[in-house]
Symmetry: none
Subunit: 226 residues, 2 copies
C-alpha cells in the first residue's frame, strides 16, 4: 500500500479530535475526522482508512454499533476503541464486537500513539494471510497470486492493486480512491496508468478461459466480483 497510513478519528468531543488529529498528522499520518457515528461510517466507506480511532460514546449510532456495522459489511479495518474510565463492560463488548484494541480515557497522546503504531504494524505484516475470492488466492507472505493451481507472479504495483481489490471485494472502488491508495498522489492531470495496470492484472489473473473478475463500472471505477 502507499506511503502514509490513513487514520479516521471519530469522536464527538472537538477537543479530543483536534489533539488526536494534530498529533497524528505531525507523525506523518493522513487523518480524516468525523463527529458522529453516521459520519464515521460514511468516511470509512469513502476513504478506506487503515485504522479507525473510535469513541464508544457517540450521539446516535455509538461506537459499538459502528464497529458492528463495519464488520458486518466485511470491512476488516483496524479499530482502536476509546472508552471512559468505568466502562469496563464497553471494553469487553468492544473487543467482542470486533475492535482490535482499546484505550481508557483519559489517555496521554503517547499512549495512543503506541497503540496506533502497534495496530498498524500488525496490519502492515498480516499474519501469514491468504486472501481468497472465488478461485483466486493472494498469498501475502509469498507476494504471489494463484488461480486454480496456476501460480501467478506479480510486480509490486500489480500486487498493491490486487491487494486493494481483495481487501474490498464486491465493493466498487472509484478511480480516485484507487489512485490515492496505490499511487499515493492526488492526480489532477490525465494519466491512464490505472487502466494500464488493470489490464496487466486482467491478463495475468483472467487467463483465456477463466471468467472475468475485475469489472469496469463505467463512470465510477472498478469492482472485484464474479
Amino acid at each position: 500500500m502507499s506511503e502514509a497510513p490513513r487514520i479516521l478519528v471519530v469522536d464527538d468531543d472537538p477537543k479530543i479530535r483536534t489533539v488526536v488529529r494534530r498529533g497524528l498528522a505531525y507523525e506523518g499520518y493522513r487523518v480524516v475526522e468525523a463527529s458522529t457515528g453516521e459520519e464515521g461510517l460514511d468516511k470509512a466507506r469513502e476513504h478506506l482508512p487503515d485504522l479507525v480511532v473510535l469513541d464508544v460514546m457517540l450521539p446516535g449510532i455509538d461506537g459499538l454499533e459502528v464497529t458492528r456495522r463495519l464488520r458486518s459489511s466485511g470491512d476488516e479495518v483496524a479499530i482502536l476503541m476509546l472508552t471512559a474510565r468505568d466502562e469496563v463492560k464497553d471494553r469487553v463488548d468492544g473487543l467482542e464486537t470486533g475492535a482490535d484494541d482499546y484505550l481508557v480515557k483519559p489517555f496521554s497522546f503517547e499512549e495512543l500513539l503506541a497503540r496506533v503504531h502497534a495496530l498498524l504494524r500488525r496490519r502492515a505484516t498480516p499474519a501469514g494471510e491468504v486472501l481468497r475470492f472465488a478461485d483466486l488466492e493472494l498469498d501475502v507472505d509469498a507476494r504471489e497470486a494463484r488461480r486454480g493451481d496456476r501460480a501467478i507472479e506479480l510486480t509490486t504495483t500489480e500486487y498493491n492493486l490486487l491487494l486493494l481489490f481483495m481487501r474490498h471485494p464486491r465493493k466498487v472502488l472509484t478511480r480516485d480512491l484507487i489512485m490515492e491508495h496505490v499511487w499515493d498522489y492526488d492526480f489532477e492531470g490525465e494519466s491512464n496508468v490505472l487502466e494500464v495496470y488493470v489490464r496487466y492484472l486482467r491478463t495475468k489473473i483472467e487467463g483465456a478461459d477463466r471468467p472475468r473478475l475485475i469489472h469496469t463500472v463505467r463512470g465510477a471505477g472498478y469492482v472485484l466480483k464474479e
Copy 2:
C-alpha cells in the same frame, strides 16, 4: 543466525512481561513483547524470534491457539508455554499442540532462564538437523549445504543467510529483515553487501544446470522457492 537470540514474550499481565523482559534483556537476549494472542502472532511473523515465551491464558486467541496457528503455518520456532498451577490439562494440551516445553506459574526467573537456555541450546545445535527444500539440503551440524550429491562448503555469512532462507521457504524476506537477521545492524547508509552474498550463494547452490532457488522480488526482497 546473528549474535543475540530473539525472544518473544506473550503475556497479558504487564508485571510478568516486565520482569521477563528485563531479565532476559539483562542476559543479552533481544526481547519483543506482546500482550494478546493476535499481537503475538503478528510479532512472531515480523521478528522471526528464536523462541516464544507464551502464556496459555490470553484474551482473544489463547496460547494453545497461537501455538496451533504458528505450527500450521510451518513455523518451527521454539515455544515455552506458561500455565497456571492447576491447568494440568492445558500443559498436556500445550505439548500436544506443538509447544516444546512448559513452566507452571508462579515460577522464579531462574527457572525460566534455565528452560530458555535449554531450549535455545537444543535449537542452536539440533541433533543432526538437516533442513531441506526442493533438492537442496542444509546440514546444520556440518554447516554444509548439499544439492543433489554435490557437497557445498559455505562461509559463515553464506551459511547464516542460507539458514534464514531455509527456515522460511516461500516467504518473501525483505531486505531490511535480512539485514537485521544476518548482519545485525540497522544499516543507515547504502550497502550492497546483501546483493553480493545472494550472488555468492547463487553461484554456489545454483550450478549452471540447476534451476534458480533464490528469486529476486524487485522492490521487496528475496524469496526461496522453486
